[in-house]
C-alpha cells in the first residue's frame, strides 16, 4: 500500500470473479506478456506454478490468463469464455502445471508467446493479491516491476555507455525516471526503467534503431486508483 492510497485501492477493482489474485491478477500477467510481445499472439505456452497450478480450475486462472493474452482487461466479461474467444481469434494455447516450486511466489505463471510475425517472448509473473502483480523474469533476465508506472523494457548488447544513451533519450523528452533496474548476462544487458510519463513513439523508435538494442517495449501502467480515473 502506498502512503496515501487512493479510495479506489479500497473500492474496486471492478473485476471478473472469483479472485483478485487468482483471476484478476492472472489476467494482468497475460496482458503484460501480450504487451511485451508487441504483436498479435498466435501461440501461448503457459506454465502455472504452486497455488495457481493447484487451484486454477476453480478460480478460472487459466481462462483469465488466456483472456489477458487476448488483451481483455480484468473487468472484461469475455474472460469467462476466453477459450472460445481464443479459438475464434486464432490463438492456440497449452498449459502445464508445476505443483510445488518453492523459488517462485505461490501464484506464479510463466507465459511464452509467439506472435503472428514470428516474434517470441517469455515472461514470468506473480500475482500478489488485490489484483496487483509483479513481473519477475523477461527472456530469462530477472526483473522486478509491478507495472504501476509506464515501464520501459530494453534488452541490448552490454556495451559501455548504453545506460547513458537510453536515459539521454528519456531526459530529452523531459520525462522523469522513477526507477531503473539493470541486470546482465555475459553479453547482454536488460534494463527496466520506470517512468512518470510515457515517452513518445518517436523516442521509442530512436531507442529501437540503436544498433546495439535488440528489444524495446513500453508497458502501460495497470495501477489501481489514479489510473482508473477516466481521463
Amino acid at each position: 500500500m502506498p502512503d496515501y492510497p487512493s479510495l479506489f485501492d479500497i473500492l474496486g477493482p471492478i473485476m471478473i470473479g472469483p479472485s483478485s489474485s487468482h483471476t484478476a491478477g492472472a489476467s494482468r500477467i497475460g496482458s503484460i506478456a501480450r504487451q511485451l510481445l508487441g504483436d498479435t499472439p498466435v501461440r501461448a505456452v503457459i506454465t502455472l506454478y504452486n497455488s495457481f497450478a493447484k487451484t486454477h480450475k476453480g478460480h478460472g486462472t487459466d481462462k483469465a490468463i488466456v483472456g489477458g493474452i487476448l488483451g481483455f482487461g480484468p473487468d472484461d466479461e469475455r474472460i469467462r469464455d476466453a477459450f472460445d474467444h481464443a479459438k475464434r481469434s486464432g490463438l492456440a494455447w497449452d498449459f502445464a502445471f508445476v505443483g510445488d516450486l518453492s523459488r517462485f511466489h505461490s501464484n506464479t505463471a510463466r507465459v511464452g508467446l509467439t506472435g503472428k510475425d514470428g516474434g517470441t517472448i517469455e515472461v514470468v509473473g506473480a500475482s500478489l493479491g488485490g489484483g496487483r502483480i509483479k513481473i519477475q523474469e523477461i527472456e530469462g533476465f530477472p526483473v522486478d516491476f509491478q507495472a504501476q508506472l509506464h515501464t520501459l523494457v530494453v534488452i541490448a548488447e552490454d556495451i559501455p555507455g548504453s545506460i547513458k544513451q537510453i536515459s539521454g533519450v528519456i531526459a530529452e523528452e523531459g520525462v522523469n525516471i522513477a526507477s531503473m533496474y539493470v541486470s546482465r548476462t555475459e553479453k547482454k544487458a536488460n534494463m527496466v526503467i520506470e517512468l512518470d510519463q510515457p515517452i513518445t513513439a518517436s523516442s521509442m523508435e530512436r531507442i529501437r534503431t540503436l544498433t546495439w538494442v535488440q528489444f524495446v517495449r513500453l508497458v502501460n501502467p495497470i495501477v489501481e486508483g489514479t489510473s482508473r480515473y477516466e481521463k
Binding site: 485501492d9 470473479g17 472469483p18 480450475k57 476453480g58 478460480h59 480515473y229
Partner: protein
C-alpha cells in the same frame, strides 16, 4: 490530511464542519490531484457494477463451476420462512447473490476484496430499496465506507493470508456498518462506534475456504457480514459505545492476524478446508484437468 486513524478523520470533520464523505473527497482530491467530479464518476461506476451484480445473482442461473453454490440467493429470497424481518432477509439474499456471481466468473466490484464483495452492495441496495434512501446519496455512503477501509488497510490488512476472513468480510462489515449509520443520519462518532462493533464481532475469523475457492464458507460469511453491519449500525445509532475505540479495535485485528496460525490464513490447510468433507470436495473439484 494524512488520515492514519479514524479519529483523525473525525477531527478533520469537526474542525472543518464537513461530514466524513466530504472529508474523503478532500483526501482523494489532495493526494491524487483529481476533481470532485472524477471521484464521483468513479463511485458511480462502482455502484452500477454493485447493483448489477446483485440483480444478476437474484435473476440468473448461478451454479458455481465447483457445484458448491447453487442459486442460494434466490432460495433465501424466495423462502416462505423469514427469521430476519423483510429488510435483513433481502440484504442477506443480496450479499449471497454477489458472492455467487463472483464464484461464477461474473463481474463484481471488490469492496474491499472479491471474497467480501457481497456486503457493500447488499447494504447499499437494501438502504435504497428497504430504507427509502435516494440513490443520489449512495456515492457518499460509499465514501464513508472507503474511509473505514482506508484506515483499516493502513493499520491492519485486507489479505486473507495476513488477517484471515477478519480482514475481508470483517472489514467489509465495518465499512457497511459505517455507511448505514451515515445514511440514517448518525454522527461521525456513531459511525466510529459502529466500526468498533462490527470488527469486534469479526475478531479472529479465519480464512479457511474449501478447496481454496472463494465459495464456501466465503459466500455465507458475506451473508453474516451484512447482518453484522446492520446489527452494529443499530447498536451505534441507539447510542451504545463500543468501549474499545474503533482505532484500537483495528490495531487489535492486526495483532490477532499476526498471532493466527498461517494454516488458518488462506492456506487451504486448516479449518473447514481441512475437514473430511472439505478434503473430499477438494478432490472432486480438482480431479480433472481443464479442457482445452
Amino acid at each position: 490530511m494524512e488520515f492514519q486513524l479514524l479519529s483523525e478523520i473525525a477531527d478533520y470533520c469537526r474542525s472543518t464542519g464537513k461530514d466524513m464523505a466530504q472529508a474523503m473527497v478532500d483526501y482523494e482530491m489532495k493526494h491524487r490531484g483529481v476533481t470532485r467530479e472524477q471521484v464521483y464518476n468513479n463511485l458511480k461506476r462502482i455502484l452500477l457494477v454493485m447493483e448489477e451484480s446483485v440483480e444478476q445473482g437474484l435473476t440468473q442461473q448461478v451454479i458455481s463451476p465447483s457445484g458448491m453454490l447453487d442459486n442460494w440467493a434466490k432460495k433465501i429470497h424466495d423462502a416462505n420462512v423469514n427469521t430476519l424481518g423483510a429488510s435483513l432477509k433481502k440484504a442477506v439474499a443480496r450479499a449471497v447473490a454477489v458472492g455467487e456471481v463472483n464464484a461464477c466468473m461474473g463481474k463484481i466490484a471488490a469492496a474491499p476484496t472479491a471474497g467480501s464483495a457481497g456486503i457493500m452492495p447488499a447494504v447499499l441496495v437494501t438502504m435504497m430499496d428497504e430504507h427509502n434512501v435516494p440513490r443520489q446519496r449512495l456515492p457518499d455512503a460509499l465514501l464513508v465506507a472507503s474511509a473505514v477501509g482506508l484506515i483499516f488497510a493502513k493499520n491492519s490488512s485486507f489479505a486473507g493470508s495476513e488477517a484471515g476472513c477478519m480482514g475481508e468480510t470483517g472489514s467489509a462489515a465495518a465499512m457497511g456498518a459505517a455507511s448505514i449509520v451515515y445514511l440514517l443520519g448518525g454522527t461521525t462518532e456513531q459511525i466510529l462506534e459502529s466500526v468498533g462493533f462490527a470488527l469486534k464481532a469479526s475478531m479472529g475469523l479465519v480464512c479457511d475456504p474449501v478447496a481454496g475457492l472463494v465459495e464456501e464458507p466465503c459466500t455465507t460469511r458475506n451473508a453474516v457480514g451484512v447482518a453484522n453491519a446492520f446489527v452494529s449500525a443499530q447498536m451505534a445509532l441507539a447510542g451504545l459505545r463500543s468501549l474499545i475505540p474503533a482505532d484500537e479495535v483495528i490495531q487489535a485485528t492486526r495483532e490477532v492476524g499476526e498471532l493466527m496460525s498461517p494454516r488458518l490464513k488462506e492456506s487451504g490447510q486448516g479449518g473447514l478446508a481441512n475437514t473430511k468433507t472439505g478434503r473430499e470436495i477438494q478432490k472432486r473439484v480438482f480431479r480433472t484437468e481443464p479442457q482445452k
